[in-house]
């Protein structure tokens, strides 16, 4: 089977970020999307800690220790960028001003439910951050994830067993095997990477996949 690397998944997602979009990238793999947006598109990135219009990572030695993104990585500002406090930052999310949010996931259900903040463990502490605000507020929610957990169990399932981040919030899923939309009828395959067959991908999925048109 063809399995995309995290970088390839991010690059595929980046193709769907249109010119002029206001985009929030979540912690981890989603951050990589910014490195692959096709040239010529002007995308304005929002980070929950209170910044719009940030750019690439700084050259080593030129970091501003106060200037970071949600992943706590150093960033630089683009001309036109702005700073604001947390209440404004999350007002932008809940208020529907962010066009696209890209998040990671523990599980996604066929109805668009997302679980990505808690494994329900008594010992391992949960961490929600801005995920629930992004889930309800962004106009479109993209998920970037491996198709299965490390042990091979599906992340795409009929019903999430982990606690939900948001109900019916995901629009599109980019995995290492395929691109899949959430529709009224469930998981709709948009495309499969390389020569991957529907049967192969279906075997690693916990709910029915609708074949690509």
């Amino acid at each position: 089977m063809i399995r995309f690397t995290p970088e390839q998944i991010a690059a595929r997602c980046a193709q769907d970020i249109p010119d002029g979009a206001y985009v929030n990238l979540g912690i981890g793999m989603p951050t990589e999307v910014a490195n692959h947006v096709p040239a010529g598109r002007e995308v304005i990135y929002h980070s929950e800690n209170g910044v719009l219009g940030f750019g690439t990572a700084p050259e080593p030695g030129t970091e501003d220790p106060d200037l970071i993104n949600a992943s706590k990585q150093y960033i630089t500002m683009q001309p036109g960028g702005a700073f604001f406090h947390q209440a404004d930052s999350f007002g932008m999310m809940r208020g529907g001003h962010i066009d696209i949010s890209v998040l990671g996931a523990f599980q996604i259900a066929a109805n668009g439910d997302l679980a990505n903040w808690s494994t329900g463990s008594e010992i391992y502490p949960p961490a929600v951050g801005g995920a629930m605000d992004l889930a309800v507020g962004a106009k479109q929610l993209f998920v970037i994830t491996r198709h299965t957990h490390k042990d091979g169990t599906p992340k795409l399932v009929e019903r999430c067993s982990y606690p939900l981040t948001g109900a019916s919030v995901v629009s599109r899923i980019y995995t290492d095997l395929a691109v899949i939309d959430i529709t009224d009828n469930g998981f709709q395959v948009i495309e499969m990477h390389g020569e991957n067959s529907l049967d192969e991908v279906q075997q690693l999925t916990g709910a029915r996949l609708l074949p690509p048109a």
């Binding site: 980070s47 929950e48 800690n49 209170g50 910044v51 501003d64 220790p65 106060d66 200037l67 970071i68 706590k72 500002m77 700073f83 604001f84 406090h85 947390q86 209440a87 930052s89 999350f90 007002g91 999310m93 809940r94 808690s118 010992i123 391992y124 502490p125 949960p126 961490a127 929600v128 951050g129 801005g130 995920a131 629930m132 605000d133 889930a135 309800v136 507020g137 606690p163 939900l164 981040t165 948001g166 109900a167």
Partner: protein
């Protein structure tokens, strides 16, 4: 004459009683009042409730308070981060209570307290475990959760510049929770990298007006 500038860090932190609720500005390691947090540790208050986005990493700030058993409860959105060993240890030992709050709800609850509001309805968390036991309402077809205001006894802030009236400006993303926490605590204390003459800050650009501040101290910046 109004003069909120104090000369020593001990004078800045002042008396903080056992059981106090303390808001700490910051996101990641940006915008944290490390000098004031060290002074709080030195001062000795116990059974603290800490309100902050994160629960401290390494051996700095809130992590040190957790290490020294000064914290009874943490109210935050993202306590688990790479290096948050003291939070994780105390959580595993069940030595602390954790109130996990979605980040935007945490910010808005603080803002509500500072703005004199009795709470608000938010769509964030509706239908999730974090809304359990809370009042809900469907408004124009959208589900909302009622969230209460969140105030504190003390807020510890970091800013880049301040003046004797307590006006503050911040540096880049070190702004984060600081301006809203400034509005929501009984006693508000800021450490600043530079104290400037009254009138030096452009009134158009002041982010936190001095009315919210009680004490301002100039410190050497600490980065971790």
């Amino acid at each position: 004459m109004v003069n909120k500038i104090v000369d020593s860090i001990n004078e800045a932190i002042g008396p903080i009683s056992d059981g106090a609720t303390v808001m700490c500005g910051g996101f990641g390691s940006s915008g944290i009042a490390f000098n004031l947090l060290d002074a709080l540790l030195e001062q000795g208050a116990r059974e603290l409730t800490i309100i902050a986005n994160n629960a401290g990493v390494g051996e700095t700030g809130v992590a040190k308070l957790l290490r020294e058993h000064r914290v009874a409860k943490v109210i935050c959105s993202y306590p688990r981060s790479p290096g948050s060993i003291w939070f994780e240890r105390r959580y595993e030992e069940r030595a602390i209570d954790l109130e996990l709050v979605p980040q935007g709800t945490l910010a808005e609850r603080i803002r509500a307290a500072g703005a004199g509001l009795g709470g608000f309805y938010t769509p964030t968390g509706y239908g999730t475990e974090l809304a359990k036991g809370k009042r809900t309402e469907v408004i124009d077809g959208v589900g909302y959760v009622f969230e209460r205001p969140l105030a504190a006894d003390v807020a510890l802030l970091k800013a880049s510049q301040g003046d004797r009236w307590g006006n503050l400006v911040y540096h880049t993303t070190a702004r984060n929770f600081n301006p809203i926490m400034a509005t929501a605590a009984t006693t508000v204390i800021a450490e600043v990298s530079e104290i400037v003459e009254l009138g030096a800050l452009d009134p158009e650009s002041v982010v936190t007006p001095g009315i919210f501040l009680d004490r301002v101290i100039e410190v050497d910046q600490v980065f971790v």
